[in-house]
Each structure stands twice: as C-alpha cells, then as structure tokens.
Symmetry: C2
Subunit: 338 residues, 2 copies
DNA sequence: TTGTATGCGTTATCAA
DNA sequence: TTGATAACGCATACAA
C-alpha cells in the first residue's frame, strides 16, 4: 500500500518538505521552476494529500455525519441527496448512518461519528416520546449540528415541514370534493408528522361539521404491506360501512391501500378515494398527495450546518426553516355528489 | 468544543496516560480500584476515543467508502443498506458518495475518500465505455476494493448479477404467453446491464423464430418520464403497429410506460403487457418483473471487502460472486391466443 | 527557499 | 500494578 507523502515528494525532487507543502497549497514565493517540478512529481506519483494528517493541525476533518432512519425510504434518500450536494460544494465528505428505527443504534452511530471527529452532524430523529438526552449532550459538547424536525426545549438549527398545514389542505380538499365518510391511516405513534397531520384532519372534520368514525381510523401503519392489509380489510366491509375516502400518512402506505383495495375488486377512486403524503412519484398510479420538499430540506439542513461550522465563535442565533407542504391533485380522489 | 482526551482523563484522575489507555482498552493487570476510577471519570466527562488518533498508530481508520450513482434510486439505496449493515457489524463507518452519473465527480469522490484514508472502497461503476484508469490506479495503490459489476481486464473482488439470464427468463416467459410482437426499452448506452438484457432478448427472439421490429425498440431511457413518453407514443400508434408486449430495462421505466399508456386510454396488460427489472416493489401496480437481489449484493460486497481488508498480506485469490436474477410473475403480462 | 520543530491523541515499550 | 517516554504519519509554522 504505497501512500505517497509530502516527505516522499521532497526526497524525489530533492527539495524540502516545506517547499513541497507550500507549492501544493498554492502559497506564494516559489520560483516557477520549483513549482513545476513539485507539481509534476505530485502528478506522476499520484500524490493525494492526507486529509487526516491535515486535520491533525487544522482542527477540521472536512467531514460531516448524517444520521437517518432508513436510506431505503425515498423521504430520507432525497434528504441525503440534498445534504451530499451541498457538502460536496464545500469539499466535505459525508458519513452516512441509517439507524433503522432503532433508537439505541442511533446513539451508537452518533458516537461513532463523534469518535471520527466530524465537524458537524445532521440528525433526522423525527421521533417523539423517545429519550433525547444524546442531543443535549451534543449541544453541551459544542459540536455543531442541525436537526430535521424541532425538539421542544432544545434550541438549535433545524428544518421543519408544515405537517399541520399539509394535513389541513388535503382534508379540506377531500371534504370539498363532497366526501363525508373520511378515514385516516396514521403512522407510528412516535411520529410527530403523523400526529400533526392527524390533528389537522380532526380539526377540519370538526370545522366542517363532520363526525369522526372510529371504524375508519387506523394507526401504526409503517409499510406498504400494512397499507395492503388495510385496503383489503376495507374492501371486505359493506359499502355503507366503509369510508369513501382515506387519507394516508404517506405515499407508501397509500399505495399499499390502493393495491389492497384493488386486489379485492374495489375501484380507486370511484369506490374509495385515497391520498398520501411525500409525493414520492415513481408510481404508475397518479396519486393525489401532499408534496414534501425533501431534497430542498436536505440542502437547507446542510447549509444551516455549514454556516454554524464556519461561523464558529460567532454564536449567531439558531435558525428554524419551515417548508410548506403543497397539495398535489392527481387522480385518486373522486368527486361525490351524495 | 470540549473534547476530552486520555491526557485530560489522566490529569483528572491523577493517573498516567498509559494507565488510562490500558483500562479503557480492557487490558489486564490493573487494580479494581484504578479501573473503577478511570471508568467513572470517562463516563462523567463523556470521553469518546478519538478514532483518528487511534488510526495514527493502528494503521486503520475503521472507515470504508461507498461510491454509487444515485442514492435516490432504490437499486442503489438497497445496496447501500446492505453495505451499511455489514460495516456496522465490524465497527466501521461508511463514507457515502453519489456521483450522479458524472464520471468526473466519481473520480473526485474517490480521491476525497483516499485522502481520508479509508481502509477500503466499494465502487458501483456499472458503466462501460468509460475510462476506468482510476480503478487500475486503485489496484496499483494496493487499496482494497470491491466492485459492483465486473470490469474486463481488471482482476478484483466483485459482485455481479446475471443480467443475461434475467433477460432470457423474462423474454422466454413473454414469448411463452403467446406474444409475437415484443418490444424492448433499453437503458443508457453505457449500461452493461442494459446491454446484456438486450442481448438476451435478441437471442431469445431469434431462438423462437420471431423477428425484431425496430419500431418496437427504444433506447437511452433513464427515468420515469422517459417511460411515460414511450407509453404515450405507443398509445398513439394504431393497434396493429405497436407491440403487444414491452420489456423494459428497469421498473422505474416500466412504471412510466404503464402510466403513459394508461394516460392515453390503453389497458395494461390487455392492450399492452409490460415488464421491468429490479423488483422495486413499492407500487400499487403488480408489475411482472425480474428481481435483482440488491440488498444481498450490498452485504456480499461488504463481506468481500472486509475479508480483503483483514487478510491484508494473505493475497488470497480474487472472488466473483454472481447473483441470479429471478423472474417474478405478477399481473402486467397478459396471455395471448392470436 | 530550507531545515527543524511542533502538534494531534492514541498505543506500545520498557522501566520502576 | 503503574508511570514515563517514545513512536505513529504527516502537514505546517517559524527561524534560519
């Protein structure tokens, strides 16, 4: 494993280490001849500066960590893409950790990245009712970080989505299409987004004088398969006992519901209207959904983090950037006249 | 930013650095009293070992790099998940780089990871007809790496998919269902997988005495939108002039085709049968496809890499692991009797 | 321009 | 059982 170091280059060119280092870092005050000689040797032997050794003196590792739940989920993979893009612009490389919904793993992963002395962290906890002590530790340590979602009682840079607004918009739309028997499929109990969307749903029902029917309510849905089961379950009810519309916590679940309903002979949207959240868009079905700007959010998270990293002592105010969720009307909600 | 080091701990406990280090590494030969004192101090001050400094002596950074095209593509995000899982088991953290189909970016990213002295690299080039000099450089450097896909003339550890076999299986199936006018949507010209699947398609046609109709052939499809355009285009042809079945390079394109065809009033599969590759499975449409075990492939890539990293001088033979592609029959291919 | 010294935090070596 | 000191590798700062 032949790593060419500055010392090697110095020996090979017959120059001093400091000269080689100076030229490679574009410092002024070297003759054109030396400059060329160094550059030629560096190219010839494939010299790659050792970022780690550099970090020994510069205090910066030019490395950030990104902690998410599941890279396989388009929601997170788009955030990741946004983060990567901005990190690349700054010459930073990113450590990725998927904790896979396991809280313990998340803490271990964060430790591992601290052990690698990342310059900053982006964390997408997105869970409530879960010990968040490690985030406070982070703050006490003074390690810059940015959060996806806000944590009550923790002042920090964060990016949030207007889940309540999104829930309101889609519910209002479905009601406006004439539906009165509307159901809701909630996500995991620990999901803050799910809670807010559900709250907006309930408020809208109330506001429009509609009643909430517990037979139309589902919770703890977390996968396509969960959606399929719900769709099949509904299809087996008599038409009069099932909702005419179902608002799902996310697109994946919504797609599952559609598949399950269709498996059992139900027509979407004529028998059952379905909506989702996220706007994954990759599906053959033109799903009416609420678009969540995940890619933009990822970029913003990284920008917030880098400002904090580079400002360092500045101690500027923490910032929260809130993204709107936008209703995207496609074809899975039918108008009803009854 | 208060980083507690071993030196700090030594000062705080009144012990020597070497004692603290020994206890923290579970070395034998320390009194229970000292041991407790050190552990207590470490916990109290939130000591996190500096993995970088450790790498200074140990020669290992406990870090690997993963270079892929696009994290947003389920194909790659599953590979990533597999790699992460195995890396985590070994206490390794992974640098992720999405090069976004840009060859230049890929090289730069690899450089960046070498600069961070990763212990090894997993690279998913999956492109042909593209300069691969940097891979040879890697080998010359002696840096362990594993490849997704094989590169002619480059002996190394790699994981491959039987794209030819997959193409043959799905084509044979479609022919067996009675189709005679079958089209193919190829991916990017630089995609090796696309080439192999197309070759198998052509061979099967020939073998069954069917002719290839250039009006049914498409290429350079790379997105859902490309698929939509093709679907719409086909729907606008007279029924007698369009294929009755279309084999698409991947699920995303297949889904686009279905959407496009349905937009224009075509029925899938009655008017047009469609198949994909990858088995993304997240869609409401029960797509007949060829399953590619990406998650398993990711795990295998990581295992190959770690064996190479840990074997080091052993110089064991390079290994190639080939994964079968398995036909998954769902509902987007109709049987034809004409 | 050059040589030398410094530093980073850990682990290894050997002495006490 | 513990302590002192020397690597480890490499970029950089500073004096010459």
């Amino acid at each position: 494993m032949s790593d060419i170091s500055i010392a090697d280059l110095a020996r090979l060119t017959g120059l001093a280490k400091s000269t080689v280092s100076g030229v490679l870092n574009n410092k002024p005050g070297f003759s054109e001849k030396t400059r060329r000689k160094v550059l030629a040797a560096a190219a010839q032997y494939g010299y790659v500066p050792n970022e780690i050794a550099r970090g020994l003196t510069s205090k910066w590792t030019k490395t950030i960590g990104l902690v998410i739940k599941d890279i396989t989920n388009p929601f997170y993979s788009r955030i990741t893409k946004g983060v990567q893009e901005i990190a690349g612009e700054h010459g930073y490389t990113v450590f990725l950790c998927s904790s896979g919904e396991q809280h313990e793993a998340e803490i271990a992963q964060i430790q591992a990245m601290i052990a690698r002395r990342v310059d900053g962290l982006i964390i997408a906890p997105l869970l409530e009712d879960v010990p968040l002590g490690h985030l406070h530790d982070l703050k006490r340590k003074g390690l810059p970080f940015a959060l996806l979602g806000s944590v009550p009682g923790l002042a920090c840079d964060c990016v949030t989505f207007d889940d309540y607004g999104g829930g309101r918009a889609v519910t209002a739309y479905v009601i406006g299409q004439g539906h009165t028997r509307i159901g809701f499929v909630a996500g995991l109990k620990t999901s803050r987004a799910s809670k807010l969307r559900l709250a907006a749903f309930k408020d809208q029902l109330l506001e429009h004088g509609l009643t909430l029917d517990s037979r139309y309510m589902f919770s703890e849905a977390a996968s396509f398969q969960d959606g399929v089961r719900i769709g099949e379950h509904l299809a087996q009810q008599p038409a009069s006992e099932r909702p005419t519309a179902l608002i799902c916590f996310d697109d994946v679940i919504a797609m599952g519901v559609i598949r399950g309903a269709q498996n059992c002979g139900l027509n979407v949207p004529d028998d059952l209207s379905v909506t989702g959240f996220d706007d994954i868009d990759l599906m053959a079905v033109p799903l009416t959904t609420v678009s969540v700007p995940t890619y933009e959010a990822g970029k913003t998270l990284a920008r917030l983090l880098f400002e904090r990293i580079f400002d360092e002592e500045a101690g500027s105010e923490y910032r929260q950037v809130n993204f709107e969720e936008r209703l995207v009307i496609r074809e899975t909600v039918a108008a009803r006249k009854d």
